[in-house]
Amino acid sequence: MATPLLAIENLSKSYGDVQVLKGVSLDVHAGDVIGIIGRSGCGKSSLLRCINGLETIDGGTVNLHGEFIGRVPHGSGWRHQTERELIDLRARIGFVFQQFNLWSNKTALDNVALPLVRVRKKSWAEARETAAEMLVKLGLGDKTASHPSELSGGQQQRVSIARALVMKPELMLLDEPTSALDPELVLDVLKVLQDLVAEGMTMLCVTHEMGFIRTFGSRLVFMDGGEIVETGDPRDVLSAPKTERLRSLLGTIQH
Amino acid sequence: MQFSFEFVLETLPALIAAAGVTIRVAAITIALSLFFGTVLTIVRALKIRPVNVAISIYISFIRGTPLLVQIFLAYYALPALGIRLGPVTAGVLAITANNAAFMTEIFRGALASIPPGQIEAAASLGLKPRAIWLKVVLPQLYMRSLPAIVNECTIVIKGTALLAVITVVEVFRTAQQIGSSSFRPFETFVAAGIVFLGLCLIISQFGLWLERRFALRRGT
């Protein structure tokens, strides 16, 4: 078996007394498209946020291409990485938020160009050119000069994906990318994600879009109470859930 | 000369004694401002155009001009109009006039935050305006304004220091006197600063205590 792109081993995380991740282990190989489902509070968002160090890890490890993220060996024990150390690693991972989180004081073009200028140290001219190309590719060529407040939810999310893609990440983390969208706008974003899958992007996607996962996902992970309860090929897991918890979850979601 | 912390401590008792004047002036001022602020708020609610315009001008003047100048007006300028006031009286007048304006503005904000439904309920129960004011509006007004009123109290306390300029013997003036006779002005003023720090912190803590005590009753 090839070494995984991302190896999560025994990951634990608590907020005060509440343990939201209880020893989660997951291997992600290049080209995998993993859908993570579960009820709210099961830890799926925390999992994603631990992977790129937005949250600190209390136990276990996260390994990107052999490099530890967030919690690194230190002498005979472990220590947390500082924000400075996380910068390079974060630049290699794309993160798409449920609430888009576009920078409202910048145009769509500059939202996509800014990371290239600041993190990749490119010139504004070069960055804007690359950004424009990416926005055209995602069907937003006429919106480059618009501010986020002038864009629909679906357009904002696509800009947000463009912003993440333009950094050429090795891995994309998507935290419920379509949950904040009106139903008619969801398809636009799913179309973009579909193209990403076709290009071979490695993706971890927390979502409720079962249809998308069944068609395009390579693996489905069901989390409950901070643990991975079921995992496998999406078509198998969705048509024949093994646990009662998953069955009841699927009962409440259209799929 | 070297800075002497012992001297700071030595002067503290004298300054704390002088704080008695500060506290007395502040207390009278705050009481009067609360009273006049309330009166002005009720008058404003009557919505008599010329009166409200006058009140607005008054508030704008107070907010737009320095307290020191207002104090000079009360002490030096009023005699020109035939009103001769002693330093303490002039001081109380000036700071009260100053504070009442801000109290009125605070009350205006608090008034706007009272749910109108409460007034309507009281009115439909047949309560007379006087009763509505006394039993429904004012208690809520004061409770909602409490943090701002406490803040105003610290502002009044700090304002009394300016009365030294018109010869009122409170903390700052005492510090000036001790400072010049002892040739240690720095230490004395540091001590004065400590006294005010103490007074203001005590007031803030008291305010927090009051808020906590009334928090249960508010239920908003």
Partner: protein, 237 residues
């Protein structure tokens, strides 16, 4: 009897006073704001010691009357061997005073910038300095400007206290003219009117700036208790 001629005759004094007040106030506002920015950053530092120092600084400057702070600074300077002209010392003291109030406004305004946008930048590998420069500072003005108007007028009014260390600003000139003319009512009323105009102009300028930066939409939306916690941090206008 009240005689406005007195004011007109001594106009040069008032003009000089206004000019000095403007210089002192503007310098104190700019310097105070810069100091405040540093203090605000310290207040949100990861290190408890820095946070504590910044908090103590703010508490001390806000709970002591400015006149006493001024005298402490002025009489404390000789100890450190520095001799400054009154105007400079007074302006610096006023800057520190103003900074304690501006710092709280800045801190609140920075925290009011939507956290998600800050997080997105973090997730992309921005340094904190870059986040401040590109996202927080550009967006904090619509939160900061309304309370800043109040603190700025407060600073202009407190500048009158510099008259007590013989800085020749407007109030001092008023005292001088009063001493020459024995017309306290006319003189102090004129002084008051001049301050009144100055502060009114300042407030107007802030309102214009607030419009350009979008504070109005904010005021309408932010009737929430959380928002007013940040929006009412000023001493008062």
């Amino acid at each position: 009897m009240i005689d406005p001629q007195v004011i007109i005759d001594h106009w040069p004094y008032f003009a000089a006073g206004i000019w000095m007040t403007i210089q002192v106030s503007l310098a104190a506002i700019v310097l105070g704001f810069m100091i405040a920015f540093a203090v605000a950053l310290l207040r949100t530092s990861r290190f408890r010691l820095l946070r504590g120092v910044a908090s103590a600084y703010v508490e001390m400057l806000r709970n002591v009357p400015f006149i006493i702070l001024l005298f402490i600074f002025f009489y404390g300077l000789p100890f450190s061997g520095i001799r400054l002209p009154e105007q400079v010392a007074g302006t610096i003291a006023l800057s520190f005073f103003a900074s304690a109030y501006y710092a709280e406004i800045i801190r609140g305004a920075m925290a009011s910038v939507p956290r998600g946008q800050v997080e997105a930048a973090r997730a992309m590998g921005f340094t904190y300095g870059q986040i401040l420069r590109d996202i927080i500072v550009p967006q904090m003005w619509k939160f900061a400007l309304p309370p800043m108007a109040g603190i700025t007028t407060m600073t202009v009014k407190e500048s009158s206290i510099l008259s007590t260390i013989t800085v020749a600003e407007l109030t001092y000139q008023g005292i001088i003219v009063q001493g020459m003319t024995f017309a306290p009512f006319e003189v102090f009323f004129a002084i008051a009117a001049l301050y009144w105009i100055f502060t009114a102009v300042l407030v107007r300028l802030f309102r214009i700036a607030e419009c350009r930066v979008g504070s109005a939409e904010l005021a309408a939306a932010a009737r929430s208790p959380v928002a007013s916690k940040y929006l009412t941090l000023e001493a008062r206008p």
